[in-house]
Symmetry: C2
Subunit: 664 residues, 2 copies
């Protein structure tokens, strides 16, 4: 198709075109065309299933993480778990109300990064971005570790292989995501509702047996493990247990990031789904904690509290027990999948804004952000290996990022209501008014979001103080480092754009002169092909030989007399057997003396071997020269490949007449 | 200096020229000029010291390796060690006589590789080369492991760190050799004669106390370790112990490789030195074995037999005990150094003959074969780590190579005498007569060398049979593999030389047409600089843009209308978001349709970042394209670098007049 209006030709692939197949096709499925991207919207019921897995799955470990702290003060202290859980559910209510506001204010999706960027400025946005990135990684590591803990509770013989199983599962999730999850939301609904059904059955039967007095305690409980040495019950211990339990709140923000997936009216649908999710989460979490305390469940690496609860309610190894464990394992793996959804999208967003490498915004053959998926997997695998797939080990790193992003988005919202208020009262503010929708109840909402932000900030501080030495300090060091990295990357791209700008660019007249320098180590077919090419570029060609061994130099000189076509040969003496440095010095000297608009081209003959291993048998001088010269301004490097293929005619000599050897 | 006879200019460095300094200067010392290479010749006494360290040091472990096998049949079996040692010394005598012949026949140095190449053909030479290479590596690994065993005998607390110490020592030896050993032979003489003096003192005092009846047995002997489960004394056990003990012979060939280092008459001097060395070796080895059996020394990883002997003779922890341990440790490290001498020289010889990568024949900044030194270190470190610096663990791999090369060189010599005999009797043989010196006693010498070869072949077979399952099979697999590798490399170089040959080369007329293709992802300064360059090459320039995102393509199209200087733009639609493949297809299509003598040049703009890490922020398309195109015949790739330096003026625009933005 020729575009008549410009000198542009557009070549389209025929409709039947299929991209080339490779090992990736086998692993990931056939490539998808850009036009194949689809948009599916979902209703409330399916939306709950898709977005709730992260939040609901945290009930699988939150109770246990409370008990593991309280256990340090003896079995009696475990009864504090229920009141602590009530406080956590209160916090959940506050956070839910705040996110409900965000959903209505940002109908196009309002993660902590976007809310902070809009309302609090760049630094806050970068901080939110950094903490969210850290958090997605930890969600993946914690969820997969917890899922393996459920498996090894039911099958203790698998306990020694937990790290390998966790890494294997993570790679499986990665592979599924690299293929691209193109299943409908309904597919996701099945495991979530299966988990909810099993949970309701467990809790329901548990309460019935509790009321009937037949619940009893855990038969053969595992040995108790705690994170601290024995101590008395005190404020620090209570706060520490509370901080651990707040991991139940992780995942609440998922819906606010994914509003666009809902059917219209999407804000309303998403808001209702959020409230439903929080209600279910609160009820399940409180029930699990209550029943766990009643049955005297003990925190242990070898058997999860959920397993102890299911075992006590259903009896050991029954089909219902195994179904409950399976449901918990599956929902935890789905929670991992949430990270695989969120991390690549967020990093693509950051990459588009110029804060992360651009590659993260490229969609792979299956239309997913492959680089982001692989980066997430790599770091999560590292964490799992370092922490030996221990949930209790990972928890101190977790949740700081969650609460930092909670705080930032709520403070951001509060600021937004304040601006709306200023606008309503007729004041001028910097932000364009169009992005702010008037709301009569801005005062109430400002207070609600402000209070929410305050609460999450306090929880974050409690978390940092009580878990500082256990590992929280790592996150406090890491998040600023990530922010610095984001800024350094941004600076680079910004600087690049400025330098590439055409604003003050002037097309100088074309170079009238062109000098060619051609390094050579010997005189052979490859050299002569390069010489032939060099002479098409310019009449001013100089061949350069670095003399390392006198005999070799003499040979080059003699052969050049015969074959050099009268081209000047410069021999650089190299008493210290250096190859690159004398060449660099010589070319720098020539470049220094060049006239304005004179271009210097270095033509390097390069062997192309048939097999990759054969490259080890060559010194790769062409490659070395390329890297050495790339920083020299005004010098262009050209590689003339000489293919060493055994089959087929010698390149460029197929038409030769095999004359006698020339004698000049 | 202008050479009047041709168009050649030779640029010499001024006499005061100093090569550039880098981190290597600090590590390795200032570079040495090729002219600095020196030749020092040495006499018999110094020669003994320089070449004997490898052979003499084997007395530090040979006795122990006999005992470790006999120990399996109980303490009583240890008394067989002495008769076995006598058999080994007899073998030593045979080998010495054979090598004496070689020294006189090859006054320019006659390693197994050269003797085999001259007399037995290519395959034998390659086999000899492979076994020698394997052997040099094992000498380094065994000697350094044994030296660490001596150290940890005296200081048992260092035993857990033996692998780290061994690797550290090896790296130290590597560093010294990379700097280049430029000490005079006298420096080497000191540790050898110190070891000999201490050995004579230990053995002498041992015999005096033995005769006086006051020698006694080892106080607090270490726990005995054996390589086999308990078994009765039998032929297999005796042969196995004999095979282990033959490690005493390793290093005997060293002098025949280094004849050129001797003062004239060098063959005579070298021959006398060889006989002296063998005499000393035989006496020391027999004495150590005799006394070790008398004192009831037991084989053990935690204390060497030498240490037990010295402790019994001198008393524990005395100054003489420590001096003996120090002397043994140092001579073992010097034996390692022998490998660092031999391996790089042999691999350089093989590289020059085209059997190993050419880089091995390059001399580094200090005039040593740096690549060979580093390759040796790398493999030896691997062996030490795998075998946990255990001499007994490494021994089964050792000595097969030694005896294979002994056998090959003696069979080769025998063949040589036979040829000389044929020649003397007036027959015609293929080899030019000039390389064969007539010798009246050729029959005797043929028999002597033949017998020697037979003996060493038998010993090698004993070695293989008795130690097959312990690890000897590895060597039997490895040596043929190395031979195959040598041949594959040779084939590659041979083929290369044929393809590069100018024998039937015809300089076709210069290409009259030159097409330029310039891929671009955006239109910016870098692109336009590349365009400017492309237009100096040819008037037939085509810009190509792969369309992955429609908006980006539209931007490119609009900007090109303004800035493209009327150059044709081809847009390649890429529905599957592939970048390289559509470009490759397009260029292949263009290349297919090219006329004879038409050259296609691909001009790629490339960013040059200031910091290496910044490269991670770019997709390195230029690099990827380069690798993709290098196998496409008739296509030349040119990279136009665009330096993104913040300081200094923008390259090539310093002279621009900052005109208004052009509007075409």
């Amino acid at each position: 198709m020729i575009d008549e209006e410009s000198r542009t030709t557009v070549l389209r692939r025929p409709a039947t075109y299929q991209p080339p197949r490779s090992w990736r096709t086998w692993l990931l499925g056939r490539p998808l065309a850009t036009a194949d991207a689809e948009d599916e919207t979902i209703g409330k019921k399916v939306g709950l299933a898709v977005f709730a897995s992260d939040a609901l799955s945290s009930t699988a470990y939150a109770t246990q993480e409370i008990l593991v702290v309280l256990g340090a003060a003896g079995m009696a202290a475990l009864t504090f778990a229920f009141p602590i859980s009530i406080a956590i559910v209160a916090l959940l209510a506050i956070v839910t109300i705040s996110y409900e506001q965000i959903i209505h204010a940002y109908p196009n999706g309002g993660g902590a990064y976007i809310v902070s960027r809009d309302n609090l400025g760049e630094l806050a946005a970068q901080t939110a971005g950094a903490s969210l990135l850290a958090d997605y990684i930890l969600t993946a590591a914690v969820s997969i570790s917890s899922s393996v803990a459920q498996i090894s509770s039911a099958f203790p013989s698998l306990f020694p292989y937990r790290v390998a199983i966790a890494v294997g599962l993570l790679l499986l999730v990665m592979m599924i995501n690299l293929r691209g999850v193109r299943e409908s939301g309904t597919t996701f609904a099945i495991p979530t509702y299966f988990f909810l059904a099993m949970m309701v059955l467990t809790i329901g039967l548990g309460f019935i047996r509790y009321v009937a007095g037949s619940l009893g305690t855990v038969p053969n409980p595992p040995p108790m493990e705690t994170v601290e040495t024995a101590q008395a019950i005190g404020l620090f211990l209570i706060l520490h247990a509370f901080a651990n339990g707040t991991t139940a709140l992780t995942g609440v923000e998922a819906i606010s990031n994914g509003i666009t997936a809902f059917k219209e009216p999407r804000s309303r649908n998403a808001g209702i789904t959020l409230i439903w999710m929080s209600l279910i989460l609160g009820v399940v979490f409180l029930s699990v904690t209550f029943l766990s305390v009643q049955i005297g469940a003990v925190p242990s690496e070898s058997e999860t509290v959920i397993s102890q609860l299911a075992r006590t309610v259903f009896g050991s190894q029954g089909i219902l027990y195994l179904a409950m464990i399976a449901a918990t394992t599956i929902i935890l793996i789905m929670a991992t999948n949430t990270s695989f959804n969120g991390f690549p999208r967020l990093s693509a967003l950051l990459a588009i804004d110029g804060f992360l490498p651009r590659q993260l915004a490229f969609r792979g053959s299956r239309l997913v952000y492959s680089w982001g998926i692989m980066a997430l997997t790599l770091i999560a695998v590292l964490l799992i290996v370092v922490f030996q797939a221990s949930v209790t080990g990972l928890i101190p790193l977790y949740a700081i990022g969650v609460f930092l992003s909670f705080t930032l988005s709520q403070v951001g919202m509060s600021r937004r209501w304040w601006k709306i208020g200023r606008l309503a009262e007729g004041e001028e503010i910097k932000q364009p008014a169009s992005t702010l929708r008037h709301d009569a109840r801005w005062r109430l909402k400002m207070v609600a979001n402000g209070f929410g932000g305050l609460c999450t900030a306090v929880v974050m501080l409690i978390f940092i103080v009580t878990k500082f030495t256990e590992g929280a300090w790592v996150v406090l060091v890491l998040i600023p480092l990530i922010v610095l990295l984001l800024r350094a990357i941004h600076h680079h791209y910004h600087d690049l754009a400025k330098r590439l700008s055409l604003a003050s660019f002037d097309m100088a007249p074309r170079s009238p002169r062109h000098r060619v320098i051609m390094p050579l180590s010997g005189v052979h077919r490859g050299t002569l092909l390069a010489l032939r090419y060099a002479r098409t570029l310019s009449n001013d060609v100089t061949a350069v030989h670095v003399s390392i061994e006198p005999e070799q130099t003499e040979k080059v000189r003699q052969k050049w007399d015969v074959w050099g076509e009268g081209v000047r040969l410069v021999i650089l003496d190299s008493p210290y057997r250096l190859l690159i440095e004398p060449l660099m010095d010589y070319i720098a000297e020539v470049a220094k003396g060049r006239q304005p608009n004179e271009t210097i081209t270095v033509v390097v003959p390069e062997f192309v071997t048939r097999h990759a291993w054969e490259n080890l048998l060559h010194t790769q001088t062409a490659l070395t020269l390329r890297f050495a010269f790339r920083t020299m301004p005004g010098v262009v490097i050209t590689t003339v490949p000489y293919q060493l293929e055994e089959d087929g005619p010698l390149p460029d000599t197929a038409t030769s007449n095999n004359k006698q050897e020339a004698k000049s």
